[in-house]
Amino acid sequence: MHNEPAISPDLIAAHGLNAEEYQRILDLIGREPSFTELGVFSAMWNEHCSYKSSKKWLRTLPTEGPQVICGPGENAGVVDIGDGQAVVFKMESHNHPSYIEPYQGAATGVGGILRDVFTMGARPIAAMNALSFGRVDHPKTRSLVNGVVEGVGGYGNAFGVPTVGGELRFHSAYDGNCLVNAFAAGLADADKIFYSAASGVGMPVVYLGAKTGRDGVGGATMASAEFDDTIEDKRPTVQVGDPFTEKRLMEATLELMATGAVISIQDMGAAGLTCSAVEMGDKGDLGVRLDLECVPVREENMTAYEMMLSESQERMLMVLRPEKEAVAKAVFDKWDLDFAIVGETIAEDRFLIMHNGEVKADLPLKALSGTAPEYDRPWVETPAAAPVGDVAEVDVAEALLTLVGSANYGSRAWVWQQYDTTVMADTVRVPGADAGVVRVHGTPKALAFTSDVTPRYCRANPFEGGKQAVAEAYRNLCATGATPLATTDNLNFGNPEKPEIMGQLVGCIKGIGEAVAALDMPIVSGNVSLYNETDGSGILPTPTIGAVGLLPTLDALIATAPTDGDTLVLIGETTGHLGQSALLAELLNREDGDAPTVNLTAERAHGELVRAAHAAGLVSAAHDLSDGGLALAATDMALAGNIGVTLDGSGTGWWFGEDQARYLIATTDADALVTMAQAAGLPVAIIGKAGGDAVTLGTTSVSLTALAEAHANALPARFG
């Protein structure tokens, strides 16, 4: 093993391995690792691939249910949607690359999650993107927003998947670390799901897709480190996306799967060839031999180290039935994609990497993933938040216009009009409402998609914040008329080696776990992104929840727009909780108080009431209440229908409080709706009417025109 750097403490540290972890390697293999082996360990044992800080806590999450076909551990989760069909979905972060190189970072984030979905045998039918940026006037924000949005669109639009939802937030805590969380969902036959476990000895290991280059070498290790002023040096670790190749790779993969040639399949994502080969061997209790001279490359003189750690995009690894080799090759020739047999499965527990006849790595395969370090990191519970300080009564009109015109609560159309929202011609509801809705092609069914989290809540109270992220997703699905099915979690946090950050992670996971159990929407896939810190300053804890719901027919779909003369009914209890509210943050520049408490029993009962009332013909439109409380929810409905609303009541807490488990319902039969709610013992009140051309909150009236203008201009005025 010549021409390779000698193993030194500096080299080990540069691979993100600490002294203890290096000793673990020495103990495991009984000798000094080669350079390539060190790279392999570094790739397998970094936070991004091994979940070494979070695994202990992730295990506590509820992941099972009668609807779950496959939970976490594969490329994506699989959930039954009836009639022999399944929805396959996952959310994954591409935070660090997007901050370094926004367009390519975001684009390859989308590419990676789409690949996770079609690797399972599912054709992607919907995408979402949850984005968090620094404060609007931070010098980097504008270019990050434009780059990330263009990257998301550039990849998803060309690939041809509709983007039907997402989130966009701005907060100074993300000044040095933006978050790009990409979600994708696909559709498959429930009995034709493909998994990563290899089977059979001597089976060909086949490389498919794009050629391997030097891009992204060490990317997963980069994504597991904090940023500092050397960040520009990290640009070469960001991969470059090619949606055209990905589209062909998907078509070819799905076509190949239909021929029965595929035994197992794994996409090459983080740590590319290393992770995918180890995963297939580990899950199948087999060893793997790779002959790297067979790997299609697009650069000259690539070393074993570079090939094993490259994160070139749009690549797959498969174990094929040997008798189907010619069929498989024909499919890939048709789509003009590379196809090469690069190794085989072997009986021993061994990961053997050969390059031109030379042994570059010879490691126990199971140990690479099975004995990855797992830490029970010290954590401290986040101290209870002090009660919210006094909030003087606000000028309701000014407050409403401020919120509606803010970067955080204004219209997101400027973003989602840059995404193809209607390709595949099944989009029933584009972004901008509670949830995006896509028909299950050729059936009466539809799926609803939402992603949610309120990071301010999570910082003040990780447990309630974790619960709230799930509860809000649940509400968004119910307000759309969908029955919530399952969730995926994308946990974005700072440095887990700090006990207070670890405490945020633990608290949020506990809250998420309690909520998904109570609301019967198990976690079926997910991703953890830690070390989102720059110069020691961390992001807000941001556990993004992506959720999927089912509409058996479009009759179940609840409209967003009230009609003239509808009565407005509020479901749920209002105490006027202003702690950590949007009002405090946007109008008063305050982020104090505790997060609102989430009563999961009430959430479930109220959500079920909304769907039952709609089934009984008592709901003409619905909207959940979240950030900005009743005032913002009523305004959203008014803008959706281009019709005024008049609500009774008074007081800042009534209008802008953020008590949970609430819905605003427009109905033509308020009495029946009230009777139905009361019969179930649920809090309900008739609070207003739809009509006119203004939003009237008690004694304050703001014209719809003024609100619409502030809402529409919120983003173009700042970023257009």
């Binding site: 060309a158 949606p243 055209f244 589209k247 009009q417 840059q418 193809d420 209607t422 011609a425």
Partner: protein, 221 residues
């Protein structure tokens, strides 16, 4: 009506076009692969769907316009066959020389996707004879800014070959042009997608009317 839809690598609206045509004709259109050197016999219509053929690398539609199948498409058009190009299909037909002008990057430099109302600028074609005065379809493109020299624009106007114009120009197109016809009025290129607006559940049925009108015009022809 016997129709076929061409698929290039990177096409992503081919299925949508199949569905749109099948709903109107009751018959599944045939699929034609870009590497084919001939097209099925007896076709009435060839549809060139939207997407990002060959990744839109080089220039939108430029590589697809040189695909093996395009010689047969050009011959078909010259013989008076109906050819419909939507979005990337429009770009391909221009690059193939079947329609004049060029489609540049949107004036706002951003991709734009939304429901778009159009004025039906001529009813004198098999494609537009069955339409009303306006129609709402979806637009979804980055390069839909139609441009041609003054002489060409004057000819399009004079020969009544502007098929659709935008109500509220979303991309900077000259004369608000959203779609144009060939000299023999048998080739239509348009940026908006009627196939995405052909079902009440998708937000409108103007696209259904587009395909039904096309079938109707062929039947009465």
């Amino acid at each position: 009506m016997k129709a076929a839809v061409i698929t290039f690598p990177g096409s992503n609206c081919d299925r949508d076009m199949h569905v749109g045509l099948q709903r109107a004709t009751g018959i599944a259109p045939q699929s034609v692969w870009h590497k084919d050197t001939s097209i099925p016999e007896g076709l009435d219509l060839i549809a060139v769907p939207g997407g990002f053929s060959f990744g839109d690398y080089l220039r939108c539609g430029a590589i697809a316009a040189r695909a093996p199948v395009m010689n047969a498409v050009v011959d078909f058009a010259k013989r008076g066959g109906l050819v419909l190009g939507v979005c990337n299909g429009f770009q391909i037909l221009i690059e193939a020389g079947l329609l004049p002008g060029a489609l540049m990057r949107n004036a706002g430099l951003k991709y734009v996707c939304k429901a778009q109302t159009l004025r039906v600028a001529t009813h004198d074609s098999a494609f537009t004879a069955g339409l009303g005065d306006t129609a709402t379809y979806a637009i979804a493109h980055h390069d839909g800014n139609y441009i041609a020299d003054d002489e060409e624009l004057a000819r399009l106007m004079g020969e009544d070959r502007i098929a659709f114009t935008y109500e509220g120009n979303p991309n900077g197109s000259q004369m608000d042009i959203a779609g144009i016809l060939s000299e023999n009025r048998r080739v239509l290129g348009m940026m908006p997608h009627p196939e995405r607006m052909n079902d009440p559940a998708l937000g409108g049925t103007d696209g259904e009317r587009f395909f039904n009108g096309l079938v109707g015009a062929l039947e009465t022809a």
